[in-house]
Structures are given as structure tokens and as C-alpha cells.
């Protein structure tokens, strides 16, 4: 039977008890399942955090942060120092091109060039970090002969951080109201002046959160460093090439598979430090972002 419009309109509203019960079951079941999905994810998150913090807190002691690694024991001072050096190096290398690209994409959009760059940068985010690490190995460690080194590790991390910084700076600068720019131009400012004196200061909080998040990602990376930074039991001697350097994520991976209690302790301590750092950065940047959203909302 063909359902005509008239037929559809004249159809009585189904108020039978059975239909109402079915709807009610559908509603409760639906909410129940969505809540279940959330609870599953949330409890996995809690499980991970509890494991890392319980075991990590148990293995943390003063010598972990004051001594260097000795075989399967000692401390993690060399790894902590290495993580700081590598991550800061990577970020510092990534900020200038990332920020400049963000400016370019937000201010000089259109045509063929900017969308292509944006597309390539978006795809670069998805390239597995081990591929970037292997690229670093082939080019810097082997071809340029830098060996496992701070330079090779930092540049690999910079490649990973770059698209994130570029994306957040673009978003941040785009949010600066058009009227402000026009006011700047009307006062006779050049393009460079408008961007550096008006857009960048306004976008700075958001850009900073992007940089912080990229720093968190760099601190947590392992795969790109394994074959570019290597590992070292000693403190960094200041050489950029030819000297391997330790880092915390390596300690997690390498020491947990050793059959020694002291090695496990170092792995848990390293996991504790890395996770704590990453969580703090994420929470701080989220708070800053929420604040800046509220702030913008009130100003408007």
C-alpha cells in the first residue's frame, strides 16, 4: 500500500501501552549503553593512572633524581637531563618555522600554495613517529655521520612537533578580530607591523598552549629517539653530534623487560615522571584555554 501524505497525516499517534514501553526501553537502554562506553574509557584511564602513580611513587626516591644510571640500577639523572635537552631542543627548533607557517596560513590564505601547505602539514601529523625516526636515522645518523646524538634526536622531535605548532598558531591568529587588523592598517602600519604588534600578542596565550602541548608530545615520544638519540648512562657532555644521550621513555621500555627488581623500579619511576609531566602540561593548557574562551566571550 502506498503511503500518501494524507494517509501519513491522518495516522493516529501511537499511544498504545506496548509502544510506550518499547520507547522507554529504547531510551533507557540507549543512555545505559552510552554511559557504559564512557565508564569503560574512564575506568581504563583510572586503571592506567593508578598503576603508574602507585608503582611509580613506590620506586621514587632521592637517588633516582640525583644519580646517573649504573647498569640496571642507580638513578635517572642522565635520562631526566636528556629528556629536557632533547624536548627543549626540538621545541626551540620547531617554533620559528611552525609559527611562521601558522602566520602564513592564517594571513595569506587562498590560492594554491597555502591550502597545499596546510594539507601537507595535516598529513605530516599522521605520519607514524617511527617513520620519522627512521628517516632521521637514515639521513642524520648514517648519511651525515652524526651518529646517535642530541642533534639527530632533537631534529626528529622537531619534525614531530612542527605540524602541531603550525596548526595551533594558525588557529590562534585566525581568531584575532578582523577589525583590529583593519584599525592597524588604517593607522598606516605595514603588514609585518600588524602581524607582529597586533595579531601575535593577542594570539600569544593560545600559541603558548599549542607549544606546551607539543612539548608534552615530545617528552612522551620514544620511537623517533630510539635510533637517533640512542642511550647513554652518562650526563650529556655538551656535544651536539657523535654523543648519544639518555631519555626517560627509553628507560621505561628497556628496563621493564630486564629481569631485575632495581631495573623495574627505574622503569616505574621514569613512567611516573613522564606521565606526571604530560598530565600537568595538559591540565594547565586546558585551564588556560578555557580561561581565554571565557575571557573572549565576556569581551564580546
Amino acid at each position: 500500500m502506498a503511503t500518501t501524505a494524507a494517509h501519513a497525516y491522518s495516522a493516529p499517534i501511537n499511544t498504545s501501552g506496548e509502544w510506550i514501553v518499547r520507547r522507554r526501553i529504547f531510551n533507557y537502554l540507549g543512555w545505559g549503553l552510552t554511559a557504559l562506553a564512557f565508564v569503560l574509557l574512564g575506568s581504563a584511564m583510572v586503571w592506567i593512572l593508578v598503576m603508574v602513580f602507585m608503582r611509580g611513587a613506590g620506586s621514587l626516591n632521592f637517588s633516582v633524581i640525583t644519580q646517573v644510571t649504573q647498569g640496571i640500577g642507580g638513578g635517572l639523572l642522565n635520562a631526566i637531563e636528556g629528556t629536557v635537552v632533547l624536548a627543549l631542543g626540538g621545541i626551540l627548533l620547531a617554533i620559528p618555522p611552525g609559527l611562521a607557517t601558522g602566520i602564513y596560513l592564517s594571513e595569506f590564505d587562498g590560492g594554491f600554495f597555502a591550502p597545499t601547505i596546510r594539507f601537507l602539514s595535516d598529513v605530516l601529523v599522521g605520519v607514524p613517529s617511527i617513520v620519522i625516526g627512521y628517516f632521521g636515522y637514515v639521513t642524520m645518523v648514517e648519511y651525515l655521520g652524526w651518529k646517535f646524538s642530541v642533534a639527530a634526536g632533537s631534529i626528529s622531535l622537531a619534525i614531530i612537533a612542527l605540524p602541531y605548532i603550525c596548526r595551533t598558531s594558525e588557529m590562534a591568529i585566525r581568531q584575532v578580530p578582523r577589525g583590529l587588523r583593519e584599525a592597524g592598517y588604517a593607522l598606516g602600519a605595514t603588514e609585518a607591523k600588524v602581524i607582529t604588534r597586533i595579531c601575535l600578542p593577542m594570539a600569544l596565550p593560545t600559541i603558548m598552549t599549542g607549544v606546551l602541548l607539543a612539548l608534552a608530545i615530545s617528552v612522551g615520544e620514544t620511537a623517533p629517539l630510539l635510533y637517533t638519540a640512542g642511550w647513554s648512562n652518562y650526563l650529556w657532555n655538551g656535544h651536539l653530534t657523535n654523543e648519544p644521550i639518555g631519555y626517560l621513555t627509553y628507560a621505561i621500555w628497556a628496563f621493564i623487560t630486564e629481569p631485575f627488581e632495581s631495573a623495574h623500579g627505574l622503569a616505574y619511576a621514569a613512567a611516573f615522571l613522564v606521565t606526571l609531566f604530560v598530565l600537568i602540561i595538559n591540565i594547565v593548557s586546558r585551564v588556560v584555554l578555557e580561561r581565554s574562551v571565557i575571557w573572549r566571550g565576556q569581551r564580546r
Binding site: 574509557l41 597555502a114 601529523v125 607514524p128 617513520v131 620514544t222 620511537a223
Partner: protein, 320 residues
């Protein structure tokens, strides 16, 4: 005007990196590609050959006698673990996104979502640690025997359950790692649906869940597809966590869902040390070919997602 040029030069560096990566990996892997040919993708035999033998020349390339570098088992392992992860992550992601967008009371919403998004912030190697220390014993002792007992009538669930390392463990850990991508993107899309649509459905007598399920969710279909493809790309390339829980299988295909596997990304890490023992360097070049294949797959997957989102979604997708 000068400013624009300087920024443009930097921008082309960022864009150029991807091209340079593919180019260098390609050039470096070229001798391996000549030696391996198409066998690379369809056979199961990764072997460095006789390390003490004298190198021989095949197809104009120097290799060790008996060396083969074929990686079908890696491709299968990568695809299957990703398949498990994505097929679990999509329902979980949709469910949690619906709950976070509409189910949680208003003021708590951002913090609840933030809690789930933190899953994406946990470093891969910490997932690996968690999997290695906690999940593998748990799954190996309790869950897998249970699954084999009750789902054993399905062929892939039957058979020896192993020790906990394997395909399903890798798939489960990957699921957790990619779910936040889907949840965050879909939640944003649901929250940003026009108020009118929502009010229209409510005015017609639909309940809040019916509105969400029948009206709001269907409109976010392309966002869901786009973010799922991005999540697929992430699962394909995940390294450390998979390395620590997959069992690092060599040269065999999984016979059931508990079998140890290895993925392309994990294999590069686990094999580079031994590949460096090969004096002809062909093993390292073959690993570069693995990296190149992985890179190209992820480029294809990500381009697909971006194009889809660009033309269909018109909503921003979070990369987190």
C-alpha cells in the same frame, strides 16, 4: 611584502618535510626494492641469511647468502590489529561522545570530556608499560581462557590462548589509544549541531535520547567517518605500545585471535639492531622499505580523511 616571502619560505619547509621524508626513504630503500621486488608484500620470510657467508650478488645487488626480506606477516598483523582496534573504537567513541555531549550535566561536561581526552595524552610507551605489566597477565590468565571457553565455537576464538601477548591484546591497547580521537571530534560535532534541529525534534515529542540518536547523530556521519579514518591511520603507525604487547612474531600468520603478531612499526624498532649486523646493509635498506610502505599507507589514509572532512564535514577535526 618581505614579511610574506619569509613566512612563505618557512611554510614551504613545513610542506617540504613530508616530500623529503618519502624521497629519502625511497632513495635509501631503492636497492632493497630492486632485490625484493613484489615478493616483499606477498611472502612470509624475513631472514638475514648467513651472517658469516660471503656476500653474493643477485639482480645487481649485494646480499648475504640465503637472505630474504618478505613481510606479508607484518602487513597482516598491522591490518588485523588495526581492524580490531577500529571496530571496537567506533562504537565506544560514538557511545562516549553521545554521553559526553548530552548525557552529562551541563557544567561538568568539559571536565568529563577532558578526562577521556587525556587518554590521548598518555605516551605510547606508558600504554606499553601498562599493557606489559598489568593487562597481559590479566588477559592471559582470566579473559582469554574464558573467551576460548564460551566463544570457542567461532573458529578465530578457539585454540591455544597463549600467554597474553598477541593480536587481541594489541588490538585492545590500540583501541584505547585511538578512541579519544573519535570521541573528541564527534562530541564537538554533536555539541555544534544547530539548536533549531534539536528543538524541532523535541517539539515533535521526541525524547532527548531519540533526538540525539535519530536527529543529531545522523548529521555527524561524515565527521564520524573522517575521524575514524584518522584513528585508523594512528593505529596503523603506533609503535611502542604494540611492540611491548604484541609478542613480536616472526614469519608466521596469526591462526587465532590470541596469536602473537608484529606490526610494521614495531618490527622496525625490534629488528634494526640485528639488521645492523648485516655487512651488506641490505637488511637496513629493507627496513627502510618497510618504513616507506608504512609511510605511504599512512599518507594515503590521512589524505583520504582530510579530503573527506574538507569536502563533506566542514567541521574542524581535532588532531589532539
Amino acid at each position: 611584502m618581505k614579511f610574506r616571502i619569509v613566512a612563505g619560505v618557512f611554510a614551504s619547509i613545513v610542506g617540504g618535510i613530508l616530500i623529503v621524508i618519502v624521497l629519502f626513504l625511497g632513495i635509501y630503500a631503492w636497492p632493497a626494492m630492486r632485490f625484493n621486488g613484489f615478493h616483499f608484500l606477498v611472502h612470509n620470510s624475513w631472514s638475514l641469511g648467513s651472517l658469516y657467508g660471503n656476500p653474493i650478488t643477485v639482480h645487481g645487488v649485494e646480499i648475504l647468502p640465503g637472505a630474504r626480506y618478505d613481510i606479508l606477516f607484518l602487513i597482516v598483523g598491522t591490518l588485523l590489529s588495526t581492524l580490531i582496534a577500529v571496530s571496537l573504537a567506533v562504537p565506544l567513541g560514538v557511545g562516549s561522545a553521545m554521553f559526553l555531549a548530552e548525557g552529562v550535566p551541563g557544567p561538568m561536561r568539559p571536565w568529563f570530556s577532558f578526562f577521556v581526552e587525556l587518554l590521548a595524552a598518555i605516551p605510547s610507551v606508558v600504554y606499553g608499560l601498562w599493557g606489559y605489566v598489568v593487562v597481559i597477565p590479566f588477559l592471559g590468565h582470566y579473559v582469554f581462557p574464558f573467551l576460548a571457553k564460551w566463544l570457542g565455537f567461532i573458529p578465530i576464538f578457539s585454540g591455544p590462548t597463549g600467554s597474553g601477548y598477541g593480536l587481541l591484546t594489541a588490538g585492545l591497547v590500540l583501541t584505547l589509544m585511538i578512541v579519544p580521537l573519535i570521541t573528541a571530534t564527534l562530541r564537538d560535532a554533536l555539541v555544534n549541531q544547530p539548536v533549531g534541529t534539536r528543538e524541532g525534534a523535541l517539539a515533535l515529542g521526541a525524547s532527548r535520547f531519540e533526538t540525539l540518536w535519530n536527529v543529531l547523530l545522523p548529521d555527524t556521519r561524515s565527521v564520524l567517518i573522517g575521524s575514524s579514518i584518522l584513528a585508523t591511520g594512528r593505529a596503523l603507525g603506533e609503535t611502542m605500545a604494540v611492540l611491548m604487547v604484541s609478542g613480536n612474531a616472526l614469519n608466521y600468520l596469526p591462526s587465532n585471535i590470541y596469536t602473537p603478531i608484529s606490526t610494521m612499526a614495531a618490527f622496525i624498532v625490534s629488528q634494526l639492531d640485528s639488521a645492523l649486523q648485516d655487512p651488506t646493509g641490505m637488511a637496513v635498506r629493507s627496513l627502510a622499505e618497510v618504513a616507506l610502505v608504512l609511510c605511504l599507507i599512512s599518507i594515503i589514509v590521512n589524505s583520504l580523511a582530510r579530503i573527506l572532512i574538507h569536502y563533506r564535514g566542514r567541521q574542524t577535526v581535532r588532531t589532539i
